[in-house]
Symmetry: C2
Subunit: 213 residues, 2 copies
Amino acid sequence: VPSGPFARPFVYPIVDADALRGRPVAAAVRALAEGGAALVQVRAKTLPDGALLGFAREALAAARAAGLRLFVNDRADVARIAGADGVHVGQEDLPPAACRTVLGAGALVGLSTHDLAQVSAAVREPIDYLAVGPVFPTRTKANPDPVVGLDLVRRARDLWSGPLVAIGGITAANAAEVVRAGADGVAVISALLDADDLRDAVRRLQGALGGRA
Amino acid sequence: VPSGPFARPFVYPIVDADALRGRPVAAAVRALAEGGAALVQVRAKTLPDGALLGFAREALAAARAAGLRLFVNDRADVARIAGADGVHVGQEDLPPAACRTVLGAGALVGLSTHDLAQVSAAVREPIDYLAVGPVFPTRTKANPDPVVGLDLVRRARDLWSGPLVAIGGITAANAAEVVRAGADGVAVISALLDADDLRDAVRRLQGALGGRA
């Protein structure tokens, strides 16, 4: 049974620099922690690398103070330099094993998958959690992958015994059925960052998932 | 006096994935070595990270076989994973000292500068070579920095005693005056990759620079 940040059911907020609407990232991370999150991912696909590093460092200082684990999207070098807990990569990013050579032994690595073939390959990779999606339609990505539905969550659950994260269009209204389909956690961007009160938004989402095991 | 790959005057070819026009990168690297290059940089700003890693690995295998030092543009993680000799970063990329925490002690780091203030700051960074440019107009970059002319090469030479690389619009026709202005080496993309015979193009450029010290 996963414990710590992956204790089921968990909310996995993704803090996108382009969705903060002027809020300092440190304040956002603090609010997420106060709302009950135990881990957080930062991403900033439109920032130059130096600015991304600054963004990750600000987020990490707040995450450390609040006891959150922090993942950096895509970039193993930025994660290593900032001293983050790990990295989250997609199918076209650096492979998990390669990320580990940059991050060292204790690092956590998560991997996104978007169909059954990718799930089947991912379970043989050196990863700490597996992400599947988009489960529902989402408007966060400019060119989203096809919606995979709860069916891929169920199939991934059959193939993968580690922490399983569902992503894509998940809200307080549909989160419970995602967990019932087998997800340990739900990753969310819009449903949290669109809210004016981040702390309250995490609490409502965690409430919808049911209490922590 | 610099020796090895930085023995003056040197040609520093940049192999851009978008400028190869179908040539395999390994063949390009071999031709550059046969033409007299002692170091090479690879960049692929439009490739996904996984493909960039594959590109860097192919280039590195050829570089190792030919005795060339290989730098990866921008990405310390890719350089580390591929086992490249170093990384080249710009003003908005990860800082040189941060790259060193990813790459380890023996790695080489180069830094681009585009005005006197950047040169003055760069000479205090932990770098192995300093690049200045664009010395002449160039069409390789979509949004090039303002042309700095030979004047910035001279001023950089006054401030920096390590290997000095000039870049931007350099050809066999103007390379000699760039070296006379104080550059140890000239970095070139278009003038080499536009040529059908890469080996011959490097030879002509090296000939225009004068023999190696």
